[in-house]
Amino acid sequence: MDMTAVLEIVTQSNPGMVRSNNEDSVMANPLRGFAVLADGMGGYNAGEVASGMATALLGTELEKAFIEREPSSKDASGKSWAHVKVEAEMARVNAAIYQAAQSQPQYAGMGTTLVVGVFHDNKVTVGHIGDSRLYRMRGEDFQQITRDHSLLQEQIDAGIITPEQARHSQNKNLVTRAVGIDPEVAAEMHDHEVLPGDVYLFCSDGLNDMVEDDEIGMTLGALSANLELCAMQLIEMACDNGGRDNVSVILVKVKGEYPAARGWWVRFLAWFK
């Protein structure tokens, strides 16, 4: 299914005001309706290598997978192909980065966070590892959809610290899960219903550490008519507030419904595959 008719996607990445290099990496495939954002870490340029590997590998592998089969087709367990593939490919990316980090001394210890979204059948399948986020704007309602794999989030969940206090925490930069650090890592996978008019924001922590959620939501609300400007504005706000980290955003606006074709002929075709 050609998703360009129903999705508008904009990607932007900026090194910020302090860093000389950009360890974030973003990619989107408007035709197949998916986007990937990675925030790399590790010395020298290893963070860039890790995040770059993640977006490149997922970009090609997911495209291949979705040409082969419709992302919404179900497998025996009842999970969508998108769900199965995102989970499997994130595991493979982890193995690839881990291998590279193990075999090449200059890449030792590199890793990346990852957030992947696949739009199919009026849904979005989301996989994430680490503290890069996905937000959704629906009407007036602006919500974070992913839950960070970070020390702070664990403390919030355990009731040790309130979200308000978390904003003043000194422990912001500690993730509890990342891609490429251990031989295996589990991606957190969820499917969410999508409505026409929704705007999705993928971002690295360089945005949400510098700009309050309220302000991000307000910007999406005010500028959703012009996604390019909206993305630019978000990055500008992060930079105006100090821009201490790389800032990356992917905006996806849903312009209409995109149900999976369910006719007999689809099943018939699928039967031959």
Binding site: V18, R19, S20, D39, M41, G42, G43, Y44, A46, A108, G109, M110, G111, T113, G130, D131, S150, L151, E154, Q155, A158, G159, I160, I161, T162, Q165, R167, H168, S169, Q170, N171, K172, N173, L174, V175, T176, R177, A178, I181, D205, D209, M210, V211, E212, E215, M218, T219, A222, L223, A225, N226, L229, Q233, E236, M237, D240, N241, G242, R244, D245
Partner: protein, 251 residues
């Protein structure tokens, strides 16, 4: 490294670096900060430190624990907080270490699962859990370049820019002529959605107008804008969706 400075009235008695995960405060000799005064309970309060954050918990003391004049059961300490126990004061000082280089800023680091256990949440009285392994020792596993923990300075707060005069818009034509609107928000949109919309962004160094949607672009002082942001100066006249308005700075 954060520390507590113990004082009574104006005399500083002691400085206590928060090197341990749990530092207990009380009258009994086995507490870490012993204050031999009848107003202090045997085990009065505890300060729990997790990496760069510290929390204060009252342990069900008779006379209570106060922070900056407020009674607290559990409190997230921020730099400069004053803990009051009877006549004694403990000032919490959390020094953000000097950054050795800008590259150390806010490096995202992996914290291995299980490396730093968190103390059990729950009622303030639930105390004895074996202190987990010192988190600081377990963390550096993946810090390839950072020589030390480089905590982020409290971020979100916008950079303290020199106070910029507040901008406002006054409508000059149409039904709302004479109306004034202060530009207090980061973004203010103007115009009619679907027809013509522009946005004015409030930034540390001024106000900027940008075209958002619509076939025609906003006109400033008789000149149509491009897609680029345009910085507004005092008394600029903006024309948008058939309405004239003036931008001005309030002093």
């Amino acid at each position: 490294m954060a520390k507590l400075i113990l004082s009574m009235e104006t005399t500083v008695l002691k400085e206590i670096p928060l090197t341990k995960e749990r530092i207990t405060i009380g009258r009994k000799p086995h507490t870490d900060i012993q204050i031999d005064n009848l107003a202090i309970s045997g085990e009065h309060a505890v300060v729990i430190t997790i990496l760069n954050d510290s929390f204060l918990e009252d342990l069900g003391s008779t006379n209570g624990t106060f922070v900056n004049g407020q009674s607290v059961k559990k409190h997230f300490l921020v730099n400069g907080d004053t803990i009051e126990l009877g006549k004694y004061r403990l000032k919490y000082v959390s020094e953000v270490p000097q950054q050795t280089s800008s590259a150390d800023f806010e490096k995202t680091m992996i914290l291995r699962p299980g490396a730093a256990k968190m103390p059990a949440p729950g009622p303030a009285t639930a105390v004895p859990s074996a202190p987990p392994a010192a988190p600081a020792a377990a963390v550096p596993a993946h810090m390839s370049t950072s020589p030390g923990m480089a905590p982020s300075p409290p971020s979100v707060a916008p950079a303290a820019a020199p106070a910029m005069p507040l901008g406002a818009i006054q409508i000059l034509s149409g039904g709302n002529a004479g109306k004034e609107m202060e530009l207090t928000k980061t973004l203010t949109t103007l115009g009619k959605p679907g027809v013509q919309v522009a946005v004015i962004a409030r930034r540390p160094h001024g106000y900027f107008i940008t075209h958002v949607e619509g076939a025609s672009f906003p006109v400033v002082n008789g000149k149509a804008l491009s897609t680029q942001a345009h910085q507004l100066v005092d008394h600029d006249v903006i024309e948008l969706a058939g309405v004239k308005m003036e931008f001005f700075l309030k002093s």
